[in-house]
Symmetry: C2
């Protein structure tokens, strides 16, 4: 076995926050048997991915090596870890292992693609393990902002790896298992080859706060509210939803869940037994009938998503419920960078309705789900791994995390997506670079990030679009003059005459001057017309539009 | 004079942060003589204004009432207060009054439009005043994050108004005048009708911090750095630039300014005498020659602007200077909501180069330029205005500020853009609604926000664009089959055949079925072709594109 090696290869999540997808392999170089850990998505934005519905890891390498893959393990049910299981199942078709709550969510995603539930196999917590190929894998409980988040204990002939997944060190997480240092110590005591570790909060200097610290402030706020109370948080943060619901319940309010994800998550948590004692909920019809001071809505859309319940309530009536002067709206959440404008828009719409908005600006109504810098050190010192491999972070987080490991005398490696790392030596070592990237789900089609499709959309959005049409007869002579259709461009510019007229005039002049060499050559003709259209537009309106030239030949 | 009134009308900046433009009027209703305070811009984003270069207040109402306008007063030289003076000068053509530093910047903006410098008249600080029509206006010094920021003392026959402009209460601002409570008290002692007041930080619960508190931390950081040091902040924050430069100077580093705005602001501050004792600066050529540990760069681009020096240094060589492993990059700034992704992109690019990035996450390297909630109360209690009119804030800020005034027993009014408020009564009162909005500078053309041009761009970006071309002969019979050009759309979808082929096939079928009534009617034909193209695309790729139909008739 001495010519076999243990490798680690991130395909998503290393050099970004989102779209997690990590591969481990063991065997002879190039023939390693593989397992995949997590298959997540990330979300598009107008700046870089207009019109795109979801962003998935590019799994080309996995498809090429499909027959070497033993299984997919999912650490927890956040979208950036489980979101792509449905979209990629067809291409990979490997068994999926997860704990009960995560499996419940994963099955829902597969069902949307018509895949049956048995594709996902439920595994109990450590010490249960699953053996696939040369790997034995167990789900080690760890606290996070979703139930049943787990680190993976991955045993291989080259030693034990702990892949933390997302985690925090919470002794009182309210829902799900508490951080259990004794359990972790026992798992680590015989030596850990590598700790592959969440890096999200490596820049946060203070130890993280427990989920339990949120309750008192929420309870005070809700108990003092005099009209309707609405609260939003990530639906998957079941502990938080429970805290909010209990605060409402104690204040004599009936709880109403709004938004598909909110209902789905609570349902999954109850079905799988991770949540009990949740206050009775009522439907929106009943909520609309009750006195406002007896209702508390728990709603989706803490990140300002336009179609979620928060945004809809901010815009107007939703499910028969309308917010009014004196109602209270609590964001029990942190705004993820990039979502600020959407969240602020909602806050202002609520303000226009006279609704009092409360958020976590003062740190009272939210805690992070990720381990802060001192917590990362705690885990390193407990697990005492031979090497630290930071993951789940942007480049700056991974780099800082490597530094932190170094400060504690441990070997670290900055591995970003596509870097295959050999873990079986004494120090981590880059052995290969794999082509990686992003796949866009666009409508019902998966397209490559570098296909140029989205680039063209961005160009049209920035520059507008001119369509130039010319017709040539059988003798390659222009039949009439060129004409233009404009989209996304000002109607007139410097000349105070319609831009379309000025463009058509200049294009007609070009056609008049064009000789047989140009008129018989589609490429030359298109290039000439495009150049004239762009230059004329530049003179008139100060910008060069995208130009599509349509040449029709009657032949 | 009893039938005359004093009015206040925000045209920009009330209900948003940015694009400040406020109007005061005195006289008989509808015949008030007017002054304008500030003429600022706001910045576009890809989400709502792709391709737009700048956003200006819609000054239609001012143009319609041009002969009633006495003058424009500019409180300070931030872009959201002075940025539109050049773009609107032609349309208004009124004299502009400002203090020396602001006037210097304003003249630069007018020069870009070929307007001579005498259009801007320099006014000294209070007690100097300018009398225009029924108004007497003085510039009352107040601290902010730019030199010579001033409140306006606006005396009218109906009483005194204090328009704060942007401000903070800083006893040690380092550059420019300190907050002088005695001066303000003396100005207010005979009674103030209305305090029209900055609302930006009304949600910040603690008293603001002085600019002087930033120095020690910066000095420590710079003195401990071992390679090149780069720092970025708003160029207009001359005090901060000075603090940074002095820290570099004391650490034995030569100072190099990079970015046009950085050089322009320091130049203006020196020219107008607000800045003295600034360390000697060197050019980038010299900086590139010196040992790295002897250089400090002060650069533009703290908000991640793609063309600014920070972004260019993060991408590669800029002005002959390249950052390297072990250099230090300080963001002495706060990221404005909406700019997070751009700033984070730069931080990660710097991380990839091995540059250590330090920001204000822990609150050590930046202070805000706006008055916090307790500071707003301090000013209210000092000025004791009859009424408080919050401005410079989103709806939620204005609303909270009105509440704050109420808590202190003062009448407040929530006035957003377009609401004309009468201030001459005992309580503020809405007397009219004026149509307001935004004007986009798009290339060299000013377009209206509601013209539909930007909406079309957004649609193309989200949905892609299909151009369908058909030719009909003299008898209204199709000449050949329709064809399609696609932009921003996947090449194939469900059928695994080229999307363009599938579209053309379905469009040809439609043309084949179409009767004379359709073929002779351009509108019907276009509508039919559009419907087919959208439906076919929906089936194939799961989205409905924008469709432009070009019908050519050979007649």
């Amino acid at each position: 076995m001495s010519d076999s090696r243990l490798i680690y290869l991130p395909l998503g999540g290393a050099g970004e926050i989102g779209m997690n997808c990590y591969v481990y392999g063991y065997g002879k170089p190039g023939e390693e048997r593989l397992i995949v850990v997590d298959m997540g998505v990330t979300f598009p934005d107008m700046d870089t991915t207009p019109g795109v519905d979801l962003i998935l890891p590019d799994i080309t390498w996995l498809k090429e090596n499909r027959n070497r893959i033993e299984a997919l393990f999912v650490t927890h049910a956040h979208e950036d870890h489980v979101g792509a299981v449905g979209h990629t199942f067809d291409a990979l078709g490997v068994p999926i292992y997860a704990r009960a709550f995560t499996a419940n969510i994963a099955r829902g995603k597969l069902a949307e693609y018509g895949v049956e539930g048995q594709a996902v196999r439920t595994v109990s917590a450590w010490p249960e393990t699953v053996t696939v190929g040369p790997f034995s894998v167990g789900f080690l409980p760890i606290s996070h902002s979703i139930p049943e988040s787990s680190a993976l204990v991955i045993d291989t002939p080259a030693g034990r790896v702990i892949h933390t997944g997302d985690f925090k060190l919470d002794p009182t997480p309210l829902v799900g298992e508490a951080w259990d240092p004794a359990l972790w110590e026992s798992v680590a005591k015989d030596g850990v080859k590598a700790l592959v570790c969440d890096s999200t909060n490596v820049f946060s200097q203070h130890a993280g706060r427990s989920e339990a610290t949120v309750g008192p402030a929420v309870e005070k706020l809700v108990s003092e509210a005099r009209n309707m109370v609405v609260a939003t948080t990530f639906a998957s943060n079941v502990a938080r939803v429970k805290t909010l619901a209990e605060a409402g319940d104690r204040a004599g309010r009936s709880i109403c869940l709004l938004g598909r994800a909110m209902r789905r998550m609570i349902e999954a948590a109850v079905e799988t037994g991770v949540l009990s004692g949740f206050p009775k909920v009522i439907g929106p019809e009943d909520a609309a009938q009750l006195p406002r001071e007896n209702v508390m809505l728990l709603v989706t859309g803490s990140q300002g998503e336009r179609r979620a319940a928060s945004a809809q309530l901010a815009r107007g009536k939703y499910n028969g419920i309308e917010l009014k002067e004196g109602d209270l709206f609590l964001f029990s959440s942190k705004t993820i960078p990039g979502n600020e404008r959407d969240v602020i828009r909602i806050m202002n719409q609520l303000s226009e309705k006279g609704v009092d908005v409360v958020d976590d600006a003062m740190g009272d109504y939210h805690v992070s789900g990720h381990a802060n810098r001192p917590d990362l050190e705690t885990v390193q010192n407990l697990v005492k791994p031979q090497m630290v491999v930071p993951m789940h972070g942007e480049h700056r987080h991974l780099r800082e995390h490597v530094k932190l490991a170094g400060q504690n005398g441990r070997a670290g490696v900055l591995a970003v997506n596509g870097m295959m790392i050999e873990l079986s030596g004494n120090e981590p070592r880059v052995v290969e670079y794999i082509e990686t990237g992003r796949t866009y789900l666009d409508g019902s089609v998966q397209i490559g990030a570098l296909d140029g499709i989205v680039r063209d959309r961005i160009r049209m959005a920035l520059n507008g679009h001119v369509v130039v049409t010319v017709i040539l007869d059988e003798d390659d002579e222009p039949l009439g003059e060129p004409w233009c259709d404009l989209m996304g461009l000002p109607e007139q510019g410097r000349s105070h005459a319609p831009l379309v007229d000025i463009l058509e005039e200049d294009l007609a002049q070009f056609m008049g001057r064009a000789g047989g060499k140009t008129l018989t050559d589609d490429d030359k003709l298109e290039e000439g017309l495009r150049r004239v259209a762009r230059q004329t537009a530049m003179n008139e309106i100060g910008k060069k539009p995208e130009v599509t030239v349509v040449v029709s030949r009657l032949s």
